[in-house]
């Protein structure tokens, strides 16, 4: 069964078993190996026939060849060598678990999922006398279910009742050919293992936890022979001990870009930034970067693009009133993918958030990545609050770049096919042109040149900021650090500026950081409250470069692959 088969915040079998053991459940003796030699050593230490199990996040490992049996340490080394570095159902095998083989008397199933039904809204414990198979195929009469009142917990009595409903004590004795007293004992152990499983579920903030099979061995032990635990995404921060890098859902392990994207989200709680790489290798072209606003409309819009023959390098989303800085970082990741042939933002939703923040965030990313990509196709559909203003900002900003772009508003939310066809046409036009080296290709060339000269740090297509800093020797600069970055004002370049673009921008879009004194911008609040006051709207920088004298830069560091 797969309560939540595709969660990234999942534990490997060996991690799960470690937690079960700490909770008092028996697990097979064994150890985890990353090399054939380690496998050999573990098997040698166990000194008995072993199972070699690929550690991958998928069910049906046995059928897929991910579990091997070995009688000797040499055989274990051989099995590990075959499994390690290979793939099981598309998952790379980086570790194998070496365990003693168990002599089974019977296989049970124990699991917990969360039932979201309004009649339940609780963890539901499941127990079956028919384990080892997909629990969904188990007939109802062999399956006991118990919704748990989370305020009361799950106690041994509850567990006993569950076990009892399927298996009488006498039957247990008969089933395992044990005297009645031993049967009774064994029966209590079975109930205790359900209680322990519930404790594990609670302790690690699991979304689901299951042991399948929970086996009774011929010598009368109850042992968790396999286990699958997935941790609730929103609780991962409470469990650094679990070492989860990207608490996000996918049926593939996170890529380097996915990990970088998660850092954006992790470092800034305001609004949602979501990123999933769909095509790990976009070199060769033909892919577009996809970016959406609003989860519900985002899926619909992605479907529409694919239906119209576009290939998506990624799926990204910024929703829930993110700062412009967060939008920038997300768009920057999208646009930093190698060899893209277009960028498409479909905000197919009447969003309540002020959309001009998206406009500023996007423009910052566009200006960093598209200044030397003539003809690069850009489509932005943005709707909702401050829609017209956002479109106007984008129109003005995109007009300063050599790209081909089209902008759409709310009238197109329900005409996505039209927008998708335009994207397709623009991509085809762009590809038919003799386009210059792509960002990726240029980066390679630059990196090679740099290696020769050894003077510069190598250029990365994802370097956080392209502006050359500082601007000239002896420049007087002021720095205003905010939560996720820093404003840098080059005072010399301010001289003679009458625009006050930065002050106006901050009071219209941002947090009223600046004031005017003697015709000059000054910081109007104490430096130490900037992090609290600054809304990271990025408008001051944009307006300064557009209408002022380019004296103000915002540094927005990012974790990059």
């Amino acid at each position: 069964m797969a309560a939540d088969e595709y969660d990234m915040a999942r534990l490997y079998e060996y991690q799960g078993k470690q937690i079960l053991r700490e909770a008092g459940l028996d697990v097979p003796e064994g150890g985890v190996a990353a090399t054939p030699e380690e496998a050999f050593a573990i098997a040698g230490r166990l000194d008995k026939p072993v199972a070699v199990k690929a550690q991958v996040w998928t069910t049906g490992r046995f059928k897929a060849g991910g579990i091997r049996f070995a009688k000797t340490p040499d055989e274990a080394r051989q099995a590990a060598a075959e499994l390690l570095g290979g793939r099981i159902k598309d998952f790379p095998v980086e570790k194998v678990l070496i365990e003693e083989q168990l002599e089974l008397a019977h296989e049970f199933y124990a699991g917990i999922i969360v039932d979201a039904s309004h009649k339940v809204r609780a963890p539901v414990l499941m127990f079956s006398t028919q384990g080892g198979v997909d629990v969904e195929s188990v007939a109802e009469e062999h399956l006991a279910r118990q919704a748990v009142d989370i305020l009361e917990g799950f106690r041994l009595d509850d567990a006993r009742r569950m076990v009892e409903s399927l298996l009488k004590v006498e039957e247990a004795s008969r089933l395992f050919n044990l005297p009645e007293e031993a049967g009774r004992l064994f029966y209590g152990e079975l109930a205790q293992s359900l209680v322990s499983l519930y404790e594990v579920f609670r302790r690690c903030d699991a979304r689901s936890a299951e042991i399948n099979p929970l086996v009774a061995t011929k010598d009368g032990w109850i042992v968790a022979a396999d286990c699958r635990i997935s941790i609730d995404d929103a609780s991962v921060a409470r469990h650094p001990e679990l070492g989860i890098t990207v608490p996000r859902e996918s049926n593939t392990p996170p890529t380097a870009l996915d990990v970088a994207a998660w850092k954006i989200e992790e470092n800034d709680y305001r609004g949602i930034s979501f990123f999933a790489q769909m095509a790990p290798d976009t070199r060769g072209g033909g892919f577009i970067g996809y970016h959406a606003i609003g989860g519900g409309g985002a899926l619909l819009a992605a479907d529409t693009l694919v239906r119209n023959g576009l290939k998506l390098a990624n799926y990204a989303e910024t929703s829930g009133n993110p700062t412009a800085a967060k939008v920038y970082r997300t768009a920057r990741l999208v646009l930093g993918q190698p060899d893209l042939d277009g960028y498409c933002l479909l905000g197919a939703v009447i969003a309540s958030q002020d959309q001009w923040h998206h406009a500023h965030g996007l423009l910052r990313a566009f200006r960093e990545t598209l200044t030397d990509r003539p003809g690069f196709p850009v489509i932005v559909l943005i709707a909702g609050n401050k829609e017209e203003e956002a479109l106007e900002i984008l129109r003005e900003g995109l007009s300063t770049l050599p790209v081909r772009f089209e902008l759409f508003g709310r009238e197109y939310i329900h005409r996505l096919d039209f927008v998708a066809r335009r994207m397709k046409e623009m991509v085809e036009e762009y590809r038919s042109e003799n386009r210059p080296l792509s960002l990726w290709e240029r980066a390679r060339v630059r990196a090679e040149e740099n290696q020769k000269s050894e003077s510069d740090t190598p250029y990365s297509p994802l370097s956080p900021h392209p502006n050359p800093l500082p601007k000239g020797e002896g420049t007087l600069t002021e720095r205003y650090p905010f939560r996720t970055g820093e404003v840098i004002v080059h005072r010399q370049q301010c001289v003679g500026c009458r625009s006050l673009a930065c002050v106006k921008a901050c009071s219209l879009y941002g947090g009223y950081l600046y004031r005017v004194k003697n015709g000059k911008m000054i910081l109007g609040i104490p430096l130490e409250i900037v992090p609290r006051q600054c809304t990271e709207c990025l408008a001051c920088e944009y307006e300064c470069h557009l209408r002022g004298q380019g004296a103000l830069d915002i540094m927005l560091p990012m974790d990059l692959p």
Partner: protein, 299 residues
């Protein structure tokens, strides 16, 4: 009338001194919501705009008497305590606009609220709005925008997608209809008030003539709504759209609740049971508002 919220609903704001808490309070009050006070532990005695701030819900109730609703602009990791406090003070409706609430906290606070008979909208709810009367949550954004998108009228809107609550309400306005109350039930894996519980409220609201439902794959929310209709507990016209039919099973993207679990929660199944119960289910989102208009005329 409307359901759950109108201009007389007396509202408390928990987390009122935060960025969102203060900005949203200003907007909600400007729109017409009866915001009376706010709570932020440790900031009692200060003011946010014209709203007094208290250290606890207990203190606020002591000063202002009972509240009809509270909204929690409190970060996910800390929101459980805020909800327990509101439940203990007997506030009958808690709106939770907060996303990323740890699952076990959500289960605990929902169980606690259920024991005391408290209604919870969310967690992860964009909020609710009774156009022309009052709003709670993020929904609406600003006064002008809310007035432009949400027209008063007789259609109830229930949405499992936050953004689509507004989009659908806007489309309903363009189809010449208006909204009695619109709400987002929340996008978290487990949420409080479900379509199945909201439909009977709309049933007993004389001002609501029909309901539009924006559904989504995952959970059994639409299946349970169909049960309510089949049982005769909701008899008004219902038009629905289910998003995510094209999504391959298991791919959850950012909607934590949109996962097909144990064979339940597929778009196919939802569409089938809703139709069997007598609801009209459209194939494309743009068809939902026109279908609603047709049904109301036919009625």
């Amino acid at each position: 009338m409307a359901i759950l919220l109108d201009e007389n609903t007396k509202v408390l704001v928990q987390g009122i001194t935060g960025r969102e808490g203060s900005a949203r309070s200003r907007f909600m009050a400007a729109y017409g919501t009866r915001i009376v006070a706010g709570v932020t532990p440790g900031r009692g005695g200060t003011m946010v705009g014209s709203f007094p701030v208290y250290n606890s819900v207990h203190e606020a109730v002591g000063r202002h008497g009972a509240f009809d609703a509270t909204v929690t602009f409190v970060p996910g990791l800390m929101v459980k305590e805020a909800v327990v406090e509101a439940v203990d003070e007997g506030i009958p409706l808690i709106v939770m606009p907060v996303e990323r609430v740890p699952l076990h906290d959500a289960l605990t606070l929902l169980a606690y609220a259920r024991r005391k008979g408290t209604r919870v909208l969310g967690p992860g709810s964009f909020g609710l709005i009774s156009p022309g009367r009052a709003v709670i949550g993020w929904i609406g954004g600003s006064e002008d925008f809310a007035n432009e998108i949400f027209r008063p009228g007789h259609v109830g809107v229930i949405s499992r997608s936050g953004g689509q609550t507004s989009t659908l309400s806007w489309a309903i306005g363009r189809a010449g209809l208006g909204i009695s109350t619109a709400m987002h039930v929340g996008g978290e894996p487990v949420v409080g008030l479900s379509p199945a519980e909201l439909l009977p409220l709309f049933e007993s609201d004389p001002e609501t003539h029909a309901v539009a439902l924006f559904g989504e794959i995952g959970t059994v929310a639409e299946e349970e709504a169909a049960e309510v209709i089949a049982a005769g507990r909701f008899t008004k016209p219902l038009a629905a759209y289910i998003a995510g039919a094209g999504v391959r099973p298991g791919m959850r993207f950012s909607h934590a609740s949109a996962i097909v679990e144990r064979g339940r929660g597929t778009a196919e199944n939802k569409i089938k049971v809703l139709r069997e119960a007598g609801a009209r289910v459209v194939e494309r989102p743009e068809d939902l508002a026109p279908a609603m208009a047709e049904m109301l005329i036919a009625n």
